[in-house]
């Protein structure tokens, strides 16, 4: 079969590959070390610091690789299973950053419990490893491996606080639905295999034409099933039903983990697969993407309108955001692949930054609620008059909400600008109008949040716990830093995109 011969068979594991793969290797090695550390001494503080160190080093390694020239050009193929290029490592850096944020935010969520939570941190690291494998994969098998590692670890995390009201429900929902999604995906992969006889992404399935015409239906169905598996994970409509419940039931840092790490990794692998398999030439696939994207924009935005619970609102808004992001998949030709990656990664970073910012504040408020002996989720009303009492936090919140809404001065706007560029090049006017209308509806729930922050009112939270500085110094620096980054990248996006060009 000649299409197999087209693939470069790489079997030798060279020193260069080792260097290129070092972030992922380091992460896996770190996880083993963490296990040993637990065996040696069980201390929550230690494991938390240790996981942060691992993540920081992984991040530094991938940034180091990004700034070097090892990855320039086509990228490096590491066996048939993995292939890394600058895009995968930029994505990996984003993943590490979000995982780092999750670990840092977790500390206080776990404080209320008595046990030692080593496995919690281990699971987070495993999720990150799964995500790292996903973004590096170049083969359906490695992708599925990463996918499962990510999902199974997440299931454990979602139901982690088992005595919480919705924890078990959320865990079960996530378990069953994600298992369904995986099986859909496996079936899809099998169908694709039946057509191409190869599981590597590099085989352009559109180019394969040896099978008789009736069998080509298998290919289309295979792609569809594969896509629906990923759509489950990205909670795209109509596969979105689990998202709000699971987001609400999961511990707040884990909600952030799902909203960022899991989704970014899934989306990266989706782009990678679509671009190298050339699905953008497949008319049926394009139609499916357009329908799913429009549906997600509409469903996500309209259902978010009446939400009071922040976590549910974020769940719905992220449905809409990934609907917008699907625009990336509709590139018109191979020349625009680089620009598409650039747009996608910029949008994803804006999305991640905004989510981390919002969850930082949600956690701060959750902490206060629990100090007032109220174990419940943060609602929009809780943020009333934040601007007049807690300026720094409020500014961060406003900036990130504006960023999600795509208003200038913020990263989100530049991201949206990239997406619109993308949509105009590929002339997908349906998606353009979806994006415009979707953002319009989106404003109807983003703006009220900002107005609530500005609303004059009683100091909603009991301030007695915090006579003066509501925030201790280090989070305040962190928050100020987040504000500066989102403004800076919103006004000078070049400083970010030069990494990708």
């Amino acid at each position: 079969m000649n299409q197999v011969e087209n693939i470069v068979e790489v079997t030798v594991f060279t020193a260069e590959m080792f260097v290129v793969l070092s972030p992922i290797l380091f992460l896996s090695f770190g996880i083993v070390l963490a296990l040993l550390l637990i065996a040696w001494q069980r201390s929550q503080k230690m494991i938390a610091v240790f996981s942060q160190v691992i993540l920081v080093f992984t991040l530094l390694l991938s940034i180091h690789l990004l700034s070097g020239n090892l990855l320039s050009g086509e990228g490096v193929q590491i066996t048939t299973l993995l292939k890394v290029d600058q895009f995968s490592y930029l994505s990996l850096s984003l993943l590490c950053l979000s995982a780092l944020a999750v670990v840092s935010l977790s500390g206080q969520a776990l404080k209320s419990q008595i046990e030692v939570h080593d496995e919690y941190y281990l699971l987070i690291l495993l999720v990150t490893l799964g995500a790292a494998i996903l973004v590096a994969s170049d083969h359906f098998a490695s992708m599925f491996l990463g996918f499962e590692l990510l999902s199974i670890s997440l299931v454990g995390l979602v139901g982690y606080f088992r005595e919480h009201k919705y924890a078990v429900e959320a865990g079960f929902k996530y378990l069953i639905l994600s298992a369904t999604a995986s099986s859909f995906m496996l079936l899809g992969i099998a169908f694709i295999y039946s057509q191409t006889g190869n599981l590597s992404f590099a085989v352009n399935s559109a180019a394969v034409s040896w099978s008789p015409v009736p069998l080509q239906l298998f290919n289309s169905v295979g792609i569809l099933l594969f896509f629906s598996g990923i759509a489950f994970k990205l909670s795209l409509a109509p596969f979105h039903f689990w998202a709000p419940d699971v987001y609400e039931g999961a511990p707040t840092p884990i909600t952030l983990l799902m909203a960022t790490v899991s989704k970014v990794a899934m989306f990266t692998v989706l782009i990678k697969c679509c671009f190298s398999q050339g699905y953008y030439n497949n008319e049926y696939f394009i139609d499916v993407i357009i329908i799913v994207a429009l549906l997600s924009m509409f469903v996500g935005n309209t259902l978010a309108l009446k939400q009071q619970n922040i976590k549910r609102l974020i769940a719905y808004s992220s449905i809409a955001h990934f609907g917008y992001l699907l625009i990336i998949l509709l590139i018109s030709s191979e020349q625009s692949i680089d620009f598409a990656w650039q747009s996608a990664l910029f949008y994803l970073s804006a999305y991640i930054l905004a989510n981390i910012s919002i969850f930082t504040i949600v956690m701060a408020y959750e902490k206060e609620l629990s100090q007032n002996a109220q174990e419940r989720d943060v609602r929009i009303d809780d943020w009333q008059s934040m601007f007049w009492h807690r300026r720094t936090e409020a500014v961060l919140l406003i900036v990130s909400i504006l960023s999600l809404a795509g208003i200038p001065l913020t990263m989100g706007f530049i991201g949206k600008f990239y997406l619109l560029n993308q949509a105009v090049i590929s002339q997908s006017w349906w998606l353009v109008s979806g994006l415009v209308i979707g953002s319009g509806i989106g404003l109807a729930y983003y703006l009220p949040i900002i107005f609530t922050v500005f609303k004059p009112g009683e100091k909603h939270m009991l301030k007695s716990h915090h006579p003066k500085g509501v925030l201790v110094a280090s989070p305040r620096i962190f928050i100020t830093l987040l504000i500066i980054i989102s403004f800076y990248l919103g006004v000078f996006p070049d400083s970010f995109s030069q990494y990708i060009m």
């Binding site: 650039q342 007049w388 504006l402 208003i407 200038p408 001065l409 706007f413 600008f417 619109l420 560029n421 105009v424 090049i425 353009v432 994006l435 415009v436 209308i437 953002s439 319009g440 404003l443 109807a444 703006l447 009220p448 900002i450 107005f451 500005f454 004059p456 000078f492 996006p493 070049d494 995109s497 030069q498 060009m501």
Partner: protein
């Protein structure tokens, strides 16, 4: 650097006003209103000096700066001025002073943040009037929106959140359509010349197929028609005006609506001459509908500010009609109407604010007979109402007259209908005056204070000067079509 200095100077002094509000430094108690007033006056006179002593010929766009901004997409930071933008920037500065003065006593709470928002809006507006890179233009277009929404939402009246959201969504959605058109233009430039460009002067040389141009023009047109506002995109305006604090209404009516007209002239007409000429009958029809509908609705209002808001729709209809007539006289009429309406609506909204401060109501039924206790206020009220319905001798008359004369050569029948709007404006103008100042006095009100007298007096003075000697603007704006 000078224009950048003005734009960022406003933003910076806004921040200074916010930070130093009600704080004592070196024995002086800083107040945000003083900081803002002084900085606006200083930057305004700096701008005037800059233009006056410059040797540039402002008949054409004069580039002031052009620096690369987002190099991957070939986006520049480019500012330029010509007579049109200078006229509107001067108007902005005049109304900026008015805005600060009308807020002087009205805004007591969170005044630092209020003046920051006010100055940020001015800075955005001046950016809009001077940007010649389309991405930068869009950037400023949106940036001026955020502080404006904050002003409505924080210091507005009872139904402010609804009004602010409505205002924001209308403008945002329509401007996204414009953004799509902007991006499409940049790609057409790339197809024709090989490089992407967002630079206005580059776009002028593009040769766009008429069927594509038609759609792109529509993208820009809708964004500006919402801002203008023209029927059927007007419904945000009465709400936003009514709920905004006085300075917010002045700012909206006086300046923000003008950005719509400015955009129509600068971008729709100049970038798509053929397409807009094809579109002109529709635009003119919308304009006439706006004129008549605005007048009719104004007549039916019982809320002082709502009445003035609807009258704005009517007046901006004249501007749109004139712009789409494509001739010199109408064009000048449009410019004079823009300035005149900026001044007269600002005056009426300030008056509404002054009355609201005295009786805490905007309802015309609560008013009446104010002439007896406040004759000076009554006199100004009469003069401003007269300006609004186009009494000869005041600036609005010149503008509307020129617009109609110019448009008559192109759309004779529509102008006949549009002229009916003048009668309508006389009716609602007199109604406004009668219900407020005549009739049985319901309550005693205080007459104008010195500050209020200065506001009204200077606005009336400008209206009279422009009405008697419109050559100040006409001579300046002449020759843009030549």
């Amino acid at each position: 650097m000078m224009l950048t200095f003005i734009i960022f100077g406003l933003l910076l002094s806004g921040s200074v006003a916010w930070v130093t509000d009600n704080k004592v430094f070196a024995g002086i108690k800083f107040q945000a209103k003083w900081v803002s007033l002084l900085s606006v006056l200083a930057l305004g006179s700096y701008f005037l000096l800059l233009v006056y002593f410059s040797n540039n010929n402002f008949q054409q766009l004069q580039l002031f700066e052009r620096v690369s901004w987002i190099s991957s997409l070939n986006i520049d930071y480019a500012l330029a001025l010509d007579t049109l933008s200078i006229t509107l920037i001067v108007l902005t500065f005049i109304l900026a002073v008015v805005c600060i003065l009308v807020s002087w006593e009205e805004i007591q709470e969170k005044s630092g943040f209020y003046y920051f928002n006010l100055l940020a809006t001015f800075s955005g507006v001046i950016g809009v009037f001077s940007a010649v890179d389309m991405f930068l233009f869009f950037f400023f277009w949106e940036v001026m929106l955020i502080p404006m929404t904050a002003i409505i939402a924080i210091w507005g009246h009872e139904n402010r959140y609804f009004a602010a959201v409505k205002f924001f969504i209308f403008t945002q959605v329509s401007s996204l359509l414009m953004l799509v058109a902007i991006i499409a233009m940049a790609y057409i430039h790339q197809q024709q010349t090989g490089v992407m460009s967002f630079y206005y002067q580059d776009w002028l040389t593009l040769d766009i197929k008429i069927d594509v141009a038609q759609y792109l023009m529509l993208g820009f047109f809708i964004a500006f028609a919402v801002k203008l506002p023209s029927v059927p995109f007007h419904s945000w305006l009465p709400d936003a005006h009514t709920q905004a604090p006085t300075a917010g209404s002045v700012l909206l009516a006086g300046i923000l609506l003008k950005t719509g007209a400015y955009g129509l002239i600068r971008f729709v007409i100049f970038l798509f001459p053929q397409a807009s000429e094809n579109f002109a009958p529709i635009a003119a029809t919308l304009a006439v509908i706006s004129i008549l509908y605005g007048a009719k609705m104004a007549f039916a209002q019982s809320d002082f500010k709502r009445l003035v808001a609807y009258s704005s729709i009517s007046h901006m209809g004249f501007v749109m009609l004139a712009i789409f007539s494509f001739n010199e006289i109408a064009y000048q009429g449009a410019i004079v109407t823009m300035v005149a309406h900026g001044l007269s609506s600002a005056a009426l909204f300030s008056l509404a604010g002054m009355i609201y401060q005295r009786i805490h109501s905007r309802n015309l039924d609560d008013m009446g007979g104010f002439w007896q206790s406040a004759p000076r206020m009554g006199g100004f009220g009469l003069a401003f109402a007269a300006a609004a319905f186009g009494l000869p001798g005041l600036a609005n008359f010149v503008g509307e007259f020129l617009s109609l004369v110019g448009a008559f050569q192109v759309f004779p029948i529509m102008v006949v209908f549009a002229s009916l709007g003048l009668i309508g404006s006389a009716i609602y103008g007199m109604l406004l005056f009668q219900k407020t100042f005549q009739g049985v006095p319901l309550q005693q009100v205080q007459d104008l204070s010195v500050r209020e007298f200065i506001i009204c007096g200077s606005l009336l003075g400008l209206l009279v000067v422009l009405g008697l000697y419109p050559n100040i603007i006409l001579g300046y704006a002449f020759g843009v079509f030549a």
